[in-house]
């Protein structure tokens, strides 16, 4: 499936991709709230090409975050009539993978950025960034590459303007600074895909714009694939492609 990629500055580039890095097919998800079943996704289909920035727009409760969690291997789609739907990463169906493989997928291939930063309050800024590497490489692997990892974490933080905050704790940072730490943490293992769930949703306009610029700049330089959930049309306008979730189904713009 081919996709037309449009840069945010209006210049057109055509990137014909033979196969998507992420592919979602007929994915359904229903949540149970007590005895009540609340259907969220009704059969979503979506392809994301390598290096593409896709923004998912939708109203509150439309299932944007749920779709992001499913793509990130944090959750599994429902089975309907024995069929689960598929979520493929580089051709591998995540829904058929073991928990261990999904853990590895999240640690190695995916970077998550959340609206509320989700930093670990007891750890310093640099430790928060390094924790992803600790999880990926284990004790021995991390210790053998510790200095390189810390150096990369420091470089990322310096790049995001936090070089002077390395030893600080999250509680001592502003909202914008915390989100930059969260982005650095998501990038520490050099993932293929960045999944961002309203990364500017909790920030004022100026700070949000600054955060977005940071992400865009990094994505362009690193060729990172990015799927961003937002309900801000202005942010969506800067993406390569915008899809809308309506009634649990995708409507491409």
């Amino acid at each position: 499936m081919g996709t037309e990629t449009i840069a945010h500055d209006g210049t057109e580039t055509m990137a014909k991709q033979s196969s998507p890095i992420l592919s979602v097919r007929d994915v359904r998800k229903t949540y149970k709230l007590g005895r009540v079943k609340v259907p969220v996704l009704h059969g979503v289909d979506l392809d994301v090409q390598k290096g593409e920035w896709v923004t998912i727009l939708g109203a509150s409760g439309s299932g944007k975050s749920t779709l992001l969690h499913l793509m990130g291997g944090l959750d599994r789609p429902d089975k309907v009539d024995g069929q689960r739907g598929t979520i493929s990463f580089e051709g591998n169906d995540l829904t058929k993978q073991s928990k261990r493989t999904l853990d590895r997928y999240r640690a190695d291939d995916i970077g998550f950025v959340f609206q509320f930063y989700h930093l670990l309050p007891e750890l310093s800024v640099v430790q928060n960034v390094c924790v992803g590497s600790m999880i990926l490489h284990g004790r021995i692997g991390y210790m053998s590459n510790r200095s390189a990892t810390v150096q990369r974490a420091t470089e990322l933080l310096e790049r995001f303007g936090l070089g002077h905050r390395l030893k600080h704790r999250p509680a001592e940072l502003s909202g914008g600074e915390r989100q930059r730490v969260a982005i650095a943490r998501a990038l520490i293992n050099d993932p293929s895909v960045l999944l961002a769930d309203e990364p500017t949703g909790n920030l004022d306009m100026k700070t949000g714009a600054s955060i977005l610029d940071t992400m865009i700049e990094y994505r362009e330089k690193a060729g990172l694939t990015m799927v961003m959930v937002t309900h801000d049309e202005r942010i969506a306008a800067r993406a390569d492609r915008v899809i809308r979730l309506l009634d649990g189904r995708v409507q491409e713009s």
């Binding site: 749920t66 969690h69 990130g72 944090l74 959750d75 928990k99 261990r100 853990d103 590895r104 997928y105 999240r106 640690a107 190695d108 998550f112 959340f114 989700h118 930093l119 670990l120 007891e122 750890l123 430790q127 924790v131 992803g132 600790m134 999880i135 990926l136 490489h137 284990g138 004790r139 991390y142 210790m143 943490r185």
Partner: protein, 525 residues
């Protein structure tokens, strides 16, 4: 790796783990102190029970057996055996200075060899001492002022000590040494047990015919005596006749076992042998015709037929106590004694109990005190069991604390899962956290417990001085100080159990955290 980092951070930044640590620490310290004190109590009892019985005893009760000198010689020739001593153990009635008549165990001993084989000399209470006993802060012990007693009251404690060792007491009239006994210090009831765990001799109140009560001061080792009534048996175990003797008291002993000290007297072997008719005797013919006559070979006059001496019945004892040489295993030594007795029995076949009969009568000091030891062991086990159950609540305390912490850290778990942490990794985070809290809590608890046990009497005295609370009163308890015995093995067991308690308490919260839905965890507020 992240588990180690988070464990360290959670440990130092939260009050909850400190509470869990304190719970483990107190639990470990409590168990260690209880076990050590009960263990110390057991050790003290065992040592006290051993002091007057040597290592191995050959016992043929009541009737006894002869040729014991030969047996002792055979025993002392063996390299495993240091020394042996003959004794007679029997029961009798003692008439005490206040007129009471009590059942008493009488030990007839050979003073010199008995002191060699047992710790008898150390148990003699009345002797000069230079250092006060641990609780005698006011130096009120009479034994500390031996010189004053000798000069002002004419009581020579050094002489009394020697009297105890030799089981003699000089006659006040002619100075001749009379056979004397050593009483258990609690037998007469005339020794008032002081609050510091010593004794003060008391007088006797005697009712006069006119109704008045007269107080008579009696210090048993100086001027006291008891009447002893024993029932002698012939060599076939038949009662012959009761004999009553008055025996002066040379000293008093404290073995450390109240049961022994309250109903035992030690007297010279030959005195008891004579009165029990267990001394050497002539064996004579039994004349079946009471009116038989014979001619006196010297005078040629007819006379009632005389009984002929046909042999000698050797002196008998009921027990031979044996002391092993250093380094010999007790069981090995008992088996060796059995072998020696077997040889002895073959040598005196027909005159002494056979080795088959005597097999189970060769007993170690542990066998002799088995009832007492097993009772105290069972009590120790029971107390530990009860405290163990109480301490087991620590598991639930740790569980409650960890559950609360895991709930508080739900979002952290969601974050870690989003970053790729596995369910096992999350579970290990809490188990490891529990183990670290257990190690820290159990280490501090073990050190605290060890410190308390090592200073338990100082702590007890301090509490007593500042609050008036005296738990271990030497007037009521027979040991002056709280006994304690810190065994490194016990400490290690308690330490490991303390850690396991914490890990056990952490398992359920760990399992709960590991199974947590990461999406729900991330949305947790």
């Amino acid at each position: 790796m992240y588990q180690a980092l988070l464990t360290r951070k959670y440990l130092t930044r939260k009050i909850m783990p400190m509470l869990a640590m304190v719970a483990v620490m107190l639990s470990v310290a409590t168990i260690l102190v209880t076990w050590s004190v009960m263990g110390g109590f057991l050790v003290s009892l065992i040592q006290s029970g051993r002091v007057l019985v040597g290592d191995v005893a050959i016992v043929w009760p009541n009737v006894g057996f002869g040729h014991y000198d030969d047996l002792i010689e055979m025993l002392e020739q063996d390299e495993m055996i240091d020394s042996a001593t003959p004794i007679i153990e029997t029961f009798g009635l003692a008439q005490l200075p206040d007129g009471r008549i009590e059942l008493i165990q009488i030990k007839g001993v050979d003073a010199t060899s008995y002191s060699d084989v047992t710790g008898f000399a150390d148990t003699l209470w009345w002797k000069p001492i230079t250092e006060p006993t641990p609780k005698d802060k006011g130096r009120e012990d009479l034994r500390l002022i031996a010189d004053d007693l000798r000069e002002n009251a004419g009581i020579d404690l050094e002489q009394i000590f020697q009297n105890g060792l030799t089981l003699t007491r000089p006659d006040p009239d002619d100075g001749q040494l009379d056979p004397a006994g050593v009483l258990g210090v609690e037998v007469t009831g005339l020794n008032y047990r002081t609050k510091w765990g010593g004794y003060e001799p008391q007088g006797v109140n005697r009712a006069m015919s006119d109704g008045r009560v007269m107080h008579e001061s009696v210090f048993m080792p100086h001027d006291g005596s008891v009447g002893l009534t024993v029932l002698s048996l012939d060599s076939d175990g038949r009662p012959v006749d009761p004999k009553t003797i008055t025996i002066p008291i040379a000293n008093e002993f404290q073995s450390g076992l109240y049961e022994v000290d309250q109903r035992t007297i030690v007297i010279p072997l030959e005195v008891l042998q004579r009165n029990l008719r267990m001394d050497e005797a002539q064996r004579i013919t039994l004349e079946r015709e009471p009116f038989a006559t014979e001619f006196d070979p010297e005078t040629g006059i007819l006379r009632p037929k005389m009984r002929e001496v046909v042999g000698i019945d050797p002196a008998r004892v009921t027990t031979v106590l044996v002391k092993k040489t250093d380094g010999v295993e007790l069981e090995v030594m008992r088996n060796r004694v059995r072998e020696i007795y077997a040889a002895f029995a073959r040598k005196h076949q027909g005159d002494v109990p056979s080795s088959h009969d005597m097999h189970w009568q060769v007993k170690t000091w542990e066998d002799l005190n088995r009832t007492m030891i097993s009772a105290v062991k069972k009590e120790t086990g029971l107390v530990l069991f009860i405290f163990g159950i109480v301490s087991f609540t620590t598991v639930f305390l740790v569980l409650a604390i960890f559950w609360s912490m895991a709930s508080e850290k739900t979002k952290d778990i969601g974050i870690l899962r989003a970053l790729g942490a596995s369910t096992m990794g999350i579970a290990w985070l809490w188990v490891r956290y529990g183990a670290v809290i257990g190690v820290v809590g159990a280490s501090v608890g073990t050190v605290l417990g060890y410190w308390i046990v090592s200073n338990i009497n100082t702590i007890h005295d301090w509490i007593g001085e500042h609050t008036g609370l005296v738990i271990w009163d030497p007037q009521q308890y027979y040991f002056i100080e709280i006994p304690s015995d810190v065994d490194p093995t016990k400490a290690l067991i308690v330490f490991i159990v303390g850690i396991m308690t914490c890990v056990l308490g952490a398992l359920l919260p760990a399992w709960h955290s590991a199974r947590m839905d990461p999406v729900k965890a991330l949305r947790f507020e």
